[in-house]
């Protein structure tokens, strides 16, 4: 008794077109959501053509495509597996598919900062389509088990698979400050430091309290209970966090500067319509929160690395530099459906670049009018160079209280006995 995949009707047509148009073999990704009972495939996208087009299968290219696509999927959507359209031998094809699926899964999960959960589904799907006979063979592999054998799975087409999926979303403040090491503050160093900071922040988000529509719900609450069936729902989430015990220890350290990430992001996750639980909504949303921030930071660093390599980076040691992270733009998969994919738009890009990427990566024909740009506005760099001090984007900012204690404090100098646990040392710079 294997897994059962409920597949959006449009995917059948899409695969069929690929059979006719392109010279085999054609590979691509299957995108959707897995759950304990069944799995849903919402869309499929072919691997884009490489400039040096060879008909041979390029495993690295397929996995890189998967990685890029993964960045464009909001919470609840993920790359579920790989398809291939070829008339080659079934057994060989299965071996190829197996390699691809493991490689894809490894690459994508290596990018993830969040911790895997016990109830995560670790099965990935492979689909082999014969272009001449249109026969499809569907198998799954457990990517957690390197020795996993192919298991048969059901592949069934259905209309409107995600038409009544719900969405949980929130807008979230990000305020991170990490030190740079005490030597040349290269972009590579910045990457490492930011990753450390992001790991700590991820843990805070994961341990945070999640409210849905203003309430803390027990984990097993069925979100859709009490509501009309097959009616789309949207939920607003709130996240409460606190610095946790596993944080980095108290430290005063020499540093070569600091990096901060400040601003806010829009995060969302889609939930299948088969009695989704509050626990699932919380898990998927938190993962999206972490992914969207990490992805943008990663993209920013990739851009900086490229400019550094091309010698475009400014050679003079400017005190403070500011970079705008890209903003998130959404685009519905189907005009009438609730489910959207997303893309990130840098400040020097226009909307056409977004639609181009949607076409290239997801094979989506989106028009600029289809894009939802209302969730985030582009970042704005303040004209005055602000020192990287921790500031709070207080919604109701009150006037800071005048501090009257400094005079008294400076007059006294008490000799101190040091105990390692409570004293923090500064060394002269």
């Amino acid at each position: 008794m294997g897994r059962g995949y409920i597949v959006e009707d449009a995917v059948e047509g899409y695969l069929s077109n690929l059979c006719e148009q392109q010279a085999a073999p054609v590979t691509g990704l299957l995108i959707g959501q897995s759950s304990a009972q069944r799995d849903f495939v919402v869309m499929a996208t072919r691997t884009p053509q490489r400039e040096e087009s060879t008909s041979a299968l390029d495993k690295e290219w397929v996995t890189e495509h998967a990685r890029q696509v993964s960045r464009m999927l909001p919470g609840g959507l993920s790359v579920l597996g790989v398809f291939i359209i070829t008339d080659a031998d079934a057994k060989d094809t299965l071996t190829t598919l197996r390699q691809l699926v493991f490689a894809v899964e490894n690459l994508i999960s290596s990018d993830n900062l969040w911790s895997p959960a016990d109830d995560d589904i670790t099965d990935c799907v492979t689909l082999h389509v014969n272009p001449k006979t249109r026969k499809t063979v569907c198998r799954t592999f457990d990517v957690k088990d390197p020795k996993s054998m192919a298991k048969p799975a059901d592949w069934k087409y259905q209309l409107g698979v995600c038409s009544s999926w719900s969405m949980v979303s929130c807008c979230l403040n990000v305020d991170m400050l990490v030190p740079l090491p005490d030597n040349r503050a290269s972009t590579e160093n910045m990457d490492k430091c930011l990753k450390e900071g992001l790991k700590v922040w991820t843990h805070q988000i994961e341990s945070g309290v999640c409210l849905i529509d203003g309430k803390k719900l027990p984990d097993d609450t069925d979100l859709t209970s009490g509501q009309k069936r097959n009616v789309r729902q949207t939920y607003t989430a709130q996240l409460l966090i606190t610095p946790d015990d596993q944080r980095l220890p108290d430290v005063v350290q020499r540093c070569g500067g600091s990096v901060s990430v400040r601003g806010a992001i829009h995060s969302r996750a889609y939930l299948h319509s088969n009695k989704p639980k509050a626990r699932l909504a919380e898990k998927l949303l938190k993962r999206d929160v972490v992914s969207t921030v990490a992805t943008r930071v990663q993209m920013m660093l990739e851009e900086l690395l490229i400019s550094e390599e091309e010698g475009k980076g400014s050679k003079d040691k400017q005190q403070t530099e500011q970079f705008c992270l890209p903003r998130r733009i959404f685009c519905p998969v189907k005009v009438s459906g609730p489910v959207c994919v997303c893309d990130y738009q840098f400040s020097d890009e226009g909307q056409s670049e977004v639609t181009d990427r949607l076409k290239e990566m997801l094979d989506m024909d989106a028009a600029e009018e289809d894009l939802d740009t209302r969730q985030e506005t582009p970042a704005e760099i303040l004209e005055k160079v602000v020192e990287a001090e921790p500031t709070v984007e207080a919604v109701e900012a009150l006037e800071p209280k005048r501090n009257n204690y400094i005079g008294v404090a400076m007059a006294t100098a008490v000799a101190l006995l040091a105990t390692a646990a409570s004293m923090l040392y500064l060394n002269d710079v």
Partner: protein, 472 residues
């Protein structure tokens, strides 16, 4: 340096908020003026955070969450700003029931203490309404220092039965703000060029009506160096100079917080005290641990009772902050007696008994505590010592070791009637060999009230009455 809560006539509920606040900043130079400025600025940020709408207080073990700066908005929706603080108890899960909803009947807390504590966690809401402005990555390159720590916020306020959530949380906010100010003061005050201290709040229970007060101390700075601060506090609260109210060891221990060492504290508090005609009860003051046979994997059954009584007394001095020395082992006690010349070296490791005189000597040698010795030639005379014992508990408040016949015990209090002469003694018996089971210990009288017939009427007794050092 402290906040004292307004007096209240009945035992209301204590609200206690704890939570780490992240304190992070970059220091361009170690120049004191600059460092002070940056630290103060960082504290200002924390003030804004605590006063902002993002500040959230969650009630531990319950689904209740309150936004104190959003008109005291709360979830679940049955809770409004006008809800009484006391009603929050209904929402808190105890070990006995699992449901996350309201309890059907108000459950009375354990008889152990009349104090009800509601624990709250300080958290920050990071979500807000959109649309939002995408983040900016800001990189500053400059040789400097990076400071990252958390402030251990710990605030309490006392509420009365009439207080609404709105009243209480307003006071809680004020306490939080005040604590940040205190922490800033302590941090800046104890900063000296190349070192920083973490401010550490502790709570102290002062005699009524002052109640619970919170003091922020610099962590790691020993009590011996903070006498000036303690003097100021004693003046501020008009406290006598002979009881160390503000030593760290005397910090208030919240009910239901377990002690790490596993010893029972003050088992006598679980007893019903006798009522004598025109009688009054005089008890040991402060906190002691119950030491008895067989503890610490030491089989001293039959010979160690005086040692255990001495350990109980030492634990009293340690927990009131008079000494930082941990409770001595049998060997350490014996060694102390050798050191003062009272015993031969062969005494150490033996199973020889000790008496009140030895107890007095050890207290002096190890803790620098002097003791008075009271002698009664016959056990029957103890019945007439009511006044003296009462006076001892009034002025010194320390546990008494009594040895005579072949037994040693600890006297924790006396119930005595001046008019009828009736007397009862609160005895802590070191001959108990069982586990730290409060039920057994109180039910079976290992800690219990005894009448004058408890003593061997013909044997002579020596009592060691430790004197409390008159220091702060």
């Amino acid at each position: 340096m402290v906040v004292a809560d307004s007096p209240c006539s009945d035992t209301g509920t204590i609200l206690r908020v704890r939570g780490p606040l992240e304190f992070t900043c970059r220091l361009d130079s170690t120049d004191a003026l600059h460092t002070h400025k940056v630290i103060s600025r960082t504290f200002q940020t924390l003030h804004s955070q605590v006063k902002s709408e993002s500040c959230v207080l969650t009630v531990c073990d319950s689904p209740v969450i309150i936004w104190p700066n959003r008109g005291v908005h709360a979830t679940p929706e049955e809770i409004s700003p006008d809800t009484l603080c006391e009603d929050l108890h209904q929402w808190i899960q105890t070990d006995e029931q699992e449901s996350a909803g309201k309890r059907s009947a108000k459950k009375k807390s354990k008889k152990s203490s009349a104090v009800n504590v509601i624990n709250l966690r300080l958290m920050m809401e990071v979500t807000k309404t959109g649309p939002v402005s995408a983040p900016i990555l800001s990189k500053t390159v400059q040789k400097s220092h990076f400071l990252s720590t958390t402030l251990p916020i710990d605030c309490v306020i006392r509420t009365t039965c009439n207080d609404t959530i709105k009243d209480a949380f307003e006071r809680l906010l004020a306490a939080l703000t005040h604590q940040l100010c205190e922490m800033e003061k302590v941090t800046l005050q104890h900063m000296k060029g190349t070192s920083l201290v973490k401010p550490e709040p502790l709570h102290f229970l002062l005699p009524e009506p002052k109640g619970l007060v919170t003091v922020v101390y610099p962590a790691g700075v020993p009590d011996s160096q903070l006498e000036t601060q303690r003097k100021e506090l004693h003046q501020q609260f008009e406290l006598p100079d002979d009881w160390p109210y503000f030593r760290r060891a005397n910090a208030y221990h919240f009910p239901n917080e377990p002690y790490k060492d596993g010893y029972l504290r003050n088992p006598h508090l679980f007893l019903t005290h006798p009522t004598l005609e025109n009688g009054k009860v005089y008890l040991v003051q402060g906190i002691y641990s119950y030491h008895h046979y067989m503890q610490d994997h030491m089989d001293d059954n039959g010979w160690g009772c005086a040692y255990r009584s001495l350990q109980t007394i030492c634990s009293w001095f340690q927990q009131q902050g008079y000494t930082e020395r941990p409770v001595p082992t049998h060997k350490e006690i014996q060694q102390a007696l050798v050191d003062v010349g009272d015993k031969q070296a062969s005494f150490v490791g033996s199973r020889q008994w000790i008496g009140s005189i030895e107890v007095q000597a050890v207290l002096n040698q190890l803790l620098e505590v002097t003791s008075k010795i009271m002698f009664v030639s016959q056990g029957s005379e103890l019945a007439s010592k009511g006044r003296e014992l009462a006076n001892h508990f009034l002025t010194e408040g320390t546990p008494i070791m009594i040895g005579g016949g072949v037994l040693a015990h600890t006297i924790l209090g006396v119930a005595w009637s001046e008019t009828t002469g009736q007397i009862r003694y609160l005895i802590l018996d070191p001959h108990y060999t069982g586990a730290e089971d409060l039920q057994v210990i109180t039910d079976k009288g290992w800690c219990g009230w005894k009448g004058p017939e408890f003593w061997d009427q013909t044997a002579y007794y020596n009592l060691c009455l430790p004197q409390r050092p008159k220091i702060i």
